[in-house]
Amino acid sequence: MLTCRDVTRLVSESLDRELPPLLRFRLRLHLVLCLFCRRFERQMLALRALAREVAAGEADGPGLPEAAKERIRGRLRGEQAQP
């Protein structure tokens, strides 16, 4: 039987590839029997959903520093000056 440690690895892996059928079956069997591993699986799905929210949201935080803006403005003017 798979250990809980094995199961955490496989749950993670199943987010990145399709597991072979037999392995998938053994994973499911363990999950049916193990509360903590079921919770763990939900945590992994929640983590993925959270990461997607972070990606979708315009995270607050500092903007482009003024010095960098000035530098980039200069660079763009230079670019535009060239035909």
């Binding site: 250990t3 809980c4 440690r5 094995d6 955490t8 690895r9 993670s12 892996e13 987010l15 990145d16 590839r17 509360l35 903590f36 591993c37 919770r39 763990f40 699986e41 939900r42 945590q43 992994m44 799905l45 929640a46 983590l47 993925r48 959903a49 959270l50 990461a51 997607r52 929210e53 972070v54 990606a55 949201g57 315009e58 995270a59 607050d60 935080g61 500092p62 903007g63 482009l64 520093p65 960098a68 803006k69 530098r71 980039i72 403005r73 660079r75 763009l76 670019e79 535009q80 035909p83």
Partner: protein, 199 residues
């Protein structure tokens, strides 16, 4: 731009004012280095200026610029990983010792897993979540963060992540596993586990 007709859609100075901050935050969240983020934003605007004829208004200006930036970020990570492949990294970064703290020798949970995965957003503002996750990401070893960000924030398919970073599938899965386990531990310790209690 030597013509008399000035199309406001192709005005780089305005691009900078309107999209500069957003692009910078976008880049910073993914490369976690202010100097690199500034450079990537500059490269993005320069590329946009050179390629502005390709902008046919199929998407919004912002979407177009973010698309260019995404490519710049991936290129940056590709270069970074070619210049310093995984094999040159310190073994400490590859250690799995922290996993031994979670499981018994027999591979069973020592303390179990909290319930926060059931409904992670219950009673918590999304912005708080983002802050906690961002803080947890900062605590990840750099390489693990790169892998996680490409896969889960940029949402590239596994195969593409593997090719960009030039690592084997086994290596990719192992690194994603370690990254997720660390993030999970960080979330559970700093926020979610606390708020809800373990059992």
């Amino acid at each position: 731009m030597a013509t008399e007709t000035v199309d406001t859609h192709l005005d780089p100075a305005r691009w900078l004012d309107e999209h500069g901050d957003l692009l910078y935050r976008y880049a910073l969240a993914r490369v976690r280095d202010a100097e690199v983020a500034e450079d990537l934003v500059q490269e993005t605007f320069v590329a946009a200026l050179r390629g502005q004829r390709n902008f046919a208004g199929r998407s919004s200006e912002r979407t177009w610029l973010v698309g260019i930036l995404k490519n710049k970020i991936v290129d940056h990570l590709r270069r970074k990983w070619r210049e310093q492949p995984l094999s040159e990294l310190e073994p400490a970064e590859q250690a799995e010792d922290f996993l031994d703290l979670l499981f018994t020798r027999g591979g069973r949970w020592k303390e179990g897993a909290g319930r926060w995965g059931d409904d992670p957003a219950a009673g918590v503002r999304a912005a708080d979540f983002q802050r906690v996750l961002a803080a947890c990401l900062e605590g990840l070893p750099g390489r693990l963060a790169d892998v996680f960000i490409l896969r889960e924030i940029e949402q590239l398919p596994s195969d593409e992540v593997r090719q960009v970073l030039n690592i084997s599938p086994t290596n990719l899965w192992a690194m994603l596993y370690r990254a997720r386990m660390r993030l999970r531990g960080c979330l559970e310790a700093n926020w979610l586990g606390h708020a809800e209690g373990k059992r």
